[in-house]
């Protein structure tokens, strides 16, 4: 069982008090599973992803436990986490296109990074060259400076570096949002390839674009305003979602072939609540058509069917 998270609570410390970014997340990601982590902007998906590997102020650890391959991750301790980072858990950041040191050749950057882990660059070079071919990058890239490559190429280099030590968990944070349709598809297929070739054991793919997840994710975890709404296999999420928010979200996505004159889709009125001092209970309450008095209490994230979790009083 690759990753298990129990009741994780992460807030942001600001001058005006705590922002409740992640409110008690409990879920797990199996071996070889690509879990999509979806939700609107500001729902806490990026905070959840980053807290597992690089929990840095203003992010504040409140409570919760995280297990990777059975071992507990000390995510609250910046230094002790170094032992897990890069070797067991890795990340492809949203800013991947300028994540490389501009004044250092790419080859020497990789060599420096590996040296800090006591790994000799020459020892890993053959594997690195094989992976360069896989992502259509020439061997020349190692001698180049980052500014000599295109944005897309720089991102692929970062993807290679992050997965070089075959981590058991890879976090990909919005890596497709800045790309064109054609390169978007290539990057997604690369993530699947990394899983198929065992470069990574399990992956958390963070994005706001549900249609990308339909193509490559095995399961999808939907978040809303810091709370987990629903987790289920991809087909179930799209065909028979149980949480009202997921249902309305899927309904508002224009299928290719949907025409406004023919089938007028509907959005979700209103906007998510502020997370500075969030309302008690289910935070979708004031936008949810099915809300009733029971929603004052926070609904538990319960397994209604094997592999299908939902947090809504109507569904339990």
């Amino acid at each position: 069982m690759a990753l298990r998270v129990e009741n994780l609570r992460i807030y942001y410390r600001t001058l005006r008090g705590y922002v409740h970014a992640v409110e008690g997340a409990t879920f797990s990601v199996g071996d070889g599973e690509i879990m999509g982590l979806a939700g609107e902007s500001g729902c806490g998906k990026t905070t959840l992803g980053h807290s597992l590997i690089y929990l840095k102020p203003p992010m504040a650890y409140i409570e919760g436990r995280v297990f990777l391959d059975g071992r507990e991750l000390p995510i609250w301790d910046m230094d002790r986490m170094n032992e897990f980072r890069f070797r067991h858990i890795s990340i492809i950041p949203q800013y991947a296109m300028n994540a490389l040191n501009p004044t250092r050749r790419i080859g020497s950057l990789i060599a420096d990074l590996l040296a800090t882990r006591g790994i000799d660059f020459r020892q890993i070079l053959p594997e690195l060259q094989r992976r360069l071919d896989l992502v259509q990058l020439s061997q020349e890239v190692l001698k180049r400076y980052p500014f000599e490559l295109s944005g897309g190429m720089r991102q692929r280099v970062v993807m290679l570096i992050s997965t070089l030590l075959n981590p058991s968990l890879l976090i990909a944070d919005e890596i497709t949002s800045a790309l064109d349709v054609s390169t978007q598809r290539a990057v997604c297929e690369m993530i699947v390839e990394f899983r198929n070739r065992g470069f990574v054991r399990s992956t958390i793919f963070i994005t706001h674009d549900m249609s990308i997840l339909y193509q490559i994710a095995d399961t999808i975890l939907v978040m809303y305003a810091g709370q987990l709404a629903e987790k289920a296999p991809v087909e179930t999420i799209f065909r028979s979602p149980r949480h009202p928010y997921t249902r309305m979200l899927i309904a508002s996505l224009p299928r290719v072939g949907a025409r406004q004159r023919v089938e007028r889709l509907k959005g979700i009125p209103g906007s998510p609540p502020p997370l500075l001092d969030p309302p008690p209970g289910c935070r979708f309450r004031d936008r949810c058509p099915l809300a009733f008095e029971r929603c004052q209490e926070p609904p538990p994230f319960v397994e209604v069917e094997p592999g299908h979790f939902v947090a809504c009083w109507r569904e339990i």
Binding site: T14, L15, P57, P58
Partner: protein, 282 residues
Amino acid sequence: MGSRSELLYFAWLNTKVRVGALILALFVILAIVGPLFARHDPNAYVGPPAHPPSSEYWLGTTTFGQDVYSQFVHGLRATFIVGLLGGGIGTLLGVCIGLLAGYRGGMVDEILNMFTNIVLILPTLAVLIIIAAYLTVRGILVESLFIGCTAWPWAARAIRAQTFSLRAREFVDLARMSGRSSWKIMFYEIAPNMLSYLFMTFILQFGGAVLIAATLDFIGLGPTQGISLGLMMNNAVLWAALPLGMWWWLIPPGAAITAIVGALYVMNVGLDEVFNPKLREL
């Protein structure tokens, strides 16, 4: 950026800004009130020569018996005038050139930018020396004018960069589509966003003007009449205050300049923290 009042609230909260402002206020008061208490004209020979500070002469007297305190407070006033005028002119020129180059872009930007670089590279003091040397009558206004006219490139570079980033923002295009004239856009849409930046630029120009003016006076190219802190130091060196151990003639002028310019720099750092939202959130 949040509303006006919130910004001022944060500005005052910042210790660096408060400390800097207090020191500055102290010297401003001294410059305004000081001369009223001076019993003697700064250049008049009134007391016993080389007399250490006493109840009669709070800061002692020079080798010729001039009242050092009177020279100090009048010199302080002159320094503030040069700072305000020189810094003001420098900032004004910097803003106009920076705003124009940043907003217009293209050929205008290329020429103005080259001109800015030229004046930047030129060692301004050398130019001022030549000008001042040939001027028969040198007043504070003329000195401030020259200092302002050679200090503006630093302001122009900063404002130009700021204008470039603001010009690309969509609200400028929106204003152009509302039929606003370029001048209105420059001064009603772009400039207000840089108010904090303009203020910080003025602080640095003010400090720079005071330092350059003091150096010019020290070399002997300051105002031909009247007194300034730089001139005091020049006289002190010329009339061997050092070998005669007259510290009360040497220390105050330099200390005042250091305190004023230092306070300005510290305020500038404090304001940078206030206006830079990233820092504010911590």
